[in-house]
Every structure is written in C-alpha cells, then in structure tokens.
C-alpha cells in the first residue's frame, strides 16, 4: 500500500495556513519588540550628575541645614516637582585631614514622605506615619525599617557637590544604586 499524497488543493491550504501563522508571528514580534523597548525606557539610567551645594566655608560646624535645588534628573517641564531638598551637616575635618559632611535625602526611609528637622530636640520627624530619626540620620523610632538615606557627596576644591538624588527606596538607596 502506498501513501497517497494529499490532493493539491489541501496541501496548498496547509501551506497557506502555515505561512499566515509564521508571518503573523513575525509581524507580532516586529511590533512588540520596539514597543516593549519604549515601555521599559524608564529603566535606563543616566550617568551620575553632580550639583554644587555651596562653598565648604559656608557650612557652620555641626549645624543641619535644608538646602533645596533643582534636581539635575528633572524634566524641563517638571515645574516645582523637579526641585529636591537635602539636609546637610558639616562634621569638621576628619582624621585624614579631609572635610567631612553628612548629606541626607529629605525622604523618610519608611514610605518616602518629607521629614522635618527640629534643631531644638535634634530629631527628624516625619509627618506621614510618624517616623523619627536622630541628628545623624539613624532610626530613633516609629515605622521606618532603617535610618535616613545618605546622599553621595564630594568636595571639589572648596565646593561641596551632591550626586543628583533619585527617589530613594529600601532596595534602591542613594549610595548603592541597583
């Protein structure tokens, strides 16, 4: 007994179905890949951007100041939301003879709200859920699981610079970008 090949009509249909599936898959892929690339755009990270905070001499020893500045990470149409604030404290000259600073993001380590500095009691208080931090940014009480987020800073000549801070979260702090 010999296997008869399918009639030409049927094999043509089979081929057409196969071709449609293959071309359809290709078309879907051609559409999906660039679109996915577009959607995942926000994951792209820019090179660190530095912003000058002021002359080293302008920071009195052991005093915490709130400094606000336009975040270099902003969009030109960000308006006020493109502003950011950091708490800066000059800690004097360290053992290696270099200027030592503490630069803290304003965001609470709990859920990101803006903390307020109270010099009288030496505490940072968060208005949202009641997080409290000591003057060195370490956790004092309340719901935060850790201390405040430290920003990356450097002294260039006589100027203090801070690395533009993104919105910090527990697994994406400012010192160890993920």
């Amino acid at each position: 007994m010999t296997m008869s090949s399918p009639p030409p009509e049927e094999s043509r249909r089979g081929f057409l179905l196969w071709l449609t599936s293959a071309l359809g898959a290709l078309a879907t892929l051609l559409l999906a890949v660039p679109f996915l690339g577009y959607l995942l755009g926000p994951l792209k990270r820019k090179a660190p951007d530095w912003h000058p905070l002021g002359k080293v001499d302008d920071f009195p020893l052991d005093q915490t100041k709130l400094l606000t500045f336009p975040n270099p990470l902003r969009q030109p149409w960000d308006g006020k939301t493109g502003m950011t604030g950091v708490y800066v404290r000059y800690k004097g000259v360290n053992k290696e003879g270099k200027h030592d600073f503490m630069v803290l993001a304003m965001n609470c380590a709990h859920l990101g709200c803006p903390v307020t500095w109270f010099p009288q009691s030496g505490l940072f208080l968060c208005p949202c859920h009641g997080g409290v931090y000591y003057e060195d940014g370490s956790r004092a009480s309340g719901p935060p699981p850790r201390g405040m987020f430290h920003c990356v800073w450097k002294v260039d000549g006589d100027t203090l610079l801070v690395e533009a801070p993104h919105f910090p979260t527990l697994q994406d702090t400012l010192t160890h970008p993920a």
């Binding site: 493109g82 004092a140 919105f167 527990l170």
Partner: protein, 490 residues
C-alpha cells in the same frame, strides 16, 4: 415613520437581538420586595456613566503637565463656568462608585450569589472592584497637589519593597528616577485610557455572564445550591419569571435616581476637593493624606509595628487576591441564605467594622506627630499654677524639645504618645528619667539631646502632672509612703 422604523429594524435587528435581552425573564422573587437588594450594581453603573461624562468634561480643560496641572485645576475651580461643579461631581461620584461597588459585592456575598453557576460573574466583579480602586488612586494623582505627590511616594515606596524587582517596578511606576512630569503623564494615561478601557471591557463581560446565567433568585434557607440540579431548578423558576424590563428595572431606576440626586447635592454643597498644598517636594511639614477610600491603609501603615509591615505589604494583596478569586470555587455549593451562613455574616461584620474603624482613625489622624504642637499648643495655665521654678523650667523644656508634637496635655497636642496630663500617677521619677533618656515604645531616646539639668527639670514637672490629692506613682517594692511624705512631695 413606520416605514422608516421597519427599514431600520430590517438592518439593525433590534427585535431579534437587543429586545430579548431586555425582556429576558428574571426570577419572580428578584422582582418583588427582595429586589431592593439588587439595585447596587446598576447604581454603580449609573455613577460610572457620570464619571465618564464629567471625566470627558474635565479632560477638555485639565492640563496633564507637572508644571501646569495645578494652575489648570485652579482655573477649573475659579474661572471655567461650572468647572468647580464638574470637579466636585467627579470626585463625589467617584467616592460613591467605590461605595456602591463595595455594597454590591457585600450583598452578592451575603446572598451567596457567587456560588454555582455564577463563579465567573464574581471573579469579573472582583476585577471591577480593583479597577475602580485603581481609578480612584490614579484620579487622586491627577489632582496634582501635595497629597497626590506624597501619595505617589508612598505607593512607590511600597512597591519598592517587592524582593529583587522592587527598584525596577518603582522606575516603571514613576516613569523615571523622580516623581515628576513623567509620573503625571503616565498616571494620566492610566486614568484616562488604560483603566477605563479595561473597566469597560470587564464590565461588558460581567454583564454578558449575568445575562447568560441569569440573575440569582433570592436565597431561601434550606434550599442549598447543588451544581447537578441547580440549572434545571433555575430554569423551572424562570418559567414563572417576570421580564427584566418591568418591576425590577423600575427599582434600579428609582434607586439610581436617588443616588444621582444625593451625589449632585453633596457635590454642590461641599464643592470640589482641593487642590491642596502646592506639589513642592522641598516643603517640609507637609501633611499628606490620601482620599477616603485609602484612609484605612493610611491608618494601618501608621499603627503597624515596623517588623510586620513589609511582610504584610507584600503578602496581604496576594492573600486578598487568592481569597477573593478562590471564594466561588471554595464555596461553590451549599446554603445561600445568610441565616444559614453565620461565619460569612460574621466575616462581613468584622471586615466592615475594621474598614470603618481604620477609616475613622485615618480621618482623625492616626497619630503621626503634630508638627506644630511644640510651637502652637502651649502648656495649659492651670497645670503650671503654683509650680516651683524647677517645674516651670521643666514645662519649658517640654515645649522647646517638641515633646508636644507627640504628647497631649489635657487632650491638646499630638496623639502619637500618651497624654501626659496625669503621667505622675503612672510613672515613678526613676521610670520617667529612664523613659526620657532611653526612649522606648514609639519614643526616641533624648539622652543625647537633653542636658542633666534639663532632664531634672522636665521630670520634676512630669512627676507633678497628676490631679490634686493623687499620690505619685510608686515602685511596688518600696514601702508605702506615709501621708506626711506624700504631702511633702506635693
């Protein structure tokens, strides 16, 4: 005219398609007095129609750009004719829709209407609940003020706790490294295109399966659902049924009309919500609060101990999803009447009580510090009358060191910590010193911030914070003070 209708009918086929849907029989019981339980779904849909209408209206004027959104909201409030009303109505009706969907869901749960063969109707309904809440949250973001800005921060920080993927989810949610223009643009797209699109498709499917499987008959105690016999029984019941376009739809219409009138009156009386503080992340002392559908989470996040928070944030939504989606399969058969399902009734009472209590706590402020308590709320005069100079100095320390941000005196001040009006009757001098210096509970340690003489003065003030005639707290191991020593201490 008749000819024109016939011409249309020949092409549209209304009598063959839509009309039978409207006239489909429903169980007689659902058209009787019990029918009043069935009005919440259609009321949700009516409010959805208002949302679409007012939403399109607002989109004609609103500017979804971070630097102009706030100004365009002010323009809507004060310049655009009836702009204030559309904003108010959109907000009020949104709240009403959340409420109606929740009540509709509660009714379906209590009457066991999610059981065979309406499992898919329930699941699509759960999806509609989450889409409604999603629309409520994204809508709050479009009111581009301080609450919106920090609400985004809270949402992003929670998402950031997802293991490994957290940071990537945050970036995709915010559309960039910071909360700003990119964030607003994508929440606008979510609120105006993506979520409404999904909602309408899901609603279509929800209604389709409602039509396919029919409206559930009012539950009768002692008549449990048995998947093998239910369909035949229901079919029999429908033979005595009444058309949907009749008594039932009149109840729907009447209730919807009442809901619309209520929503319009509330909107007109209370006006639009916000915008509140300007969305400026550099303004400290912001006091952000979410809209009321999310106040209960806000209260829970404040009250939960830090240790259980992350596990709860990560697992609670998953547990909720599994429970809600699994419910119609777990309880697929059996009694439907609430009188035969005491556990289900208890569950509803517990859940609603929890949500209401947490929401009330959220309204009152769940006890985050009162940021101006120290500068704005003085020590009551009667508490410092006839005080010694040391006690007066202590009262000053209490104010200056921001203690009042968390502690009330005579009911005024923060509620993060206990009211200190009578603290002298609860804590001994030694306990007060220890608490001030080492902190504990929710209280930070003040050891480094207070000089010894400040601690002495503060504790001297606190020991005497007690009603006249009450003896100070004492260590049970110490001998009972005689009357003379107690008076001496006073």
């Amino acid at each position: 005219m008749k000819k024109l209708l016939a011409w249309l009918e020949h092409r549209v086929g209304f009598r063959d398609s839509i009309l039978p849907m409207l006239m489909h029989p429903i169980p007689r019981g659902a058209a009787g007095p019990m029918g009043w339980w069935y009005v919440f779904g259609s009321a949700s849909m009516t409010l959805l129609a208002i949302q679409i209408l007012t939403g399109i209206g607002l989109a004609l004027v609103y500017v979804p750009s971070a630097d102009k959104a706030y100004e365009s909201l002010l323009y809507l409030n004060y310049e655009q004719p009836m702009g204030w009303f559309l904003r108010a109505l959109h907000n009020t009706s949104a709240g009403g829709m959340v409420l109606m969907v929740a009540i509709h869901m509660t009714q379906v749960f209590l009457h066991g209407s999610f059981k065979y063969p309406r499992e898919l109707t329930w699941i699509l309904g759960v999806c509609l609940l989450f889409l409604t809440l999603g629309l409520a949250f994204t809508g709050q973001v479009l009111r581009w003020d301080g609450d919106a800005y920090w609400g985004l921060g809270v949402g992003a920080a929670m998402a950031g706790r997802v293991p490994i993927l957290g940071p990537y989810i945050v970036r995709l949610l915010l559309g960039g490294p910071i909360i700003g223009a990119d964030t607003l643009s994508r929440f606008f797209a979510l609120h105006v295109f993506i979520l409404p699109g999904l909602l309408l498709v899901t609603l279509g499917l929800h209604l389709w399966v409602v039509l396919r499987k029919g409206i559930s008959e009012p539950p009768v105690p002692g008549e449990p659902v048995d998947p093998t016999t239910y369909d035949a029984k229901y079919h029999e019941e429908l033979k005595k049924g009444v058309p949907f376009l009749g008594d039932a739809v009149v109840k729907d219409g009447l209730f919807s009309a009442l809901v619309v009138i209520t929503v319009v009156v509330i909107a007109a009386v209370f006006g639009p919500k916000g915008p509140g503080a300007y969305p400026d992340p550099t303004l400290p002392g912001a006091d952000p609060k979410p809209d009321w559908p999310f106040l209960w989470t806000y209260a829970a996040l404040t009250l939960l101990p830090a240790e259980v928070e992350t596990p709860l944030i990560l697992t609670a939504p998953l547990v909720l999803l599994v429970v809600l989606f699994g419910l119609p399969f777990y309880a697929n058969r059996g009694e439907r009447a609430p009188s035969r399902r005491p556990l289900a009734v208890l569950g509803v009472i517990v859940l609603w009580s929890l949500l209401i209590v947490l929401t009330l706590i959220g309204i009152k402020g769940p006890g985050a510090p009162t940021m101006d308590g120290w500068s704005g709320i003085p020590v009551p005069v009667d508490m410092v009358k006839r005080s010694s100079p040391v006690q007066l100095a202590g009262a000053a320390v209490l104010q200056n060191k921001q203690c009042r941000n968390c502690h009330a005196l005579e009911g005024k001040g923060g509620i993060r910590g206990p009211d200190l009006t009578n603290v002298g009757t609860r804590l001994t001098r030694d306990e007060l010193i220890r608490q001030v210096i080492q902190g504990g509970g929710l209280m930070p340690a003040y050891g480094k911030q207070l000089k010894p003489h400040e601690v002495t003065a503060l504790v001297e003030f606190l020991v005497n914070c007690r009603p006249a005639g009450e003896t100070p707290a004492r260590n049970p191991a110490q001998p009972v003070p005689t009357r003379t020593t107690a008076r001496a201490e006073n």
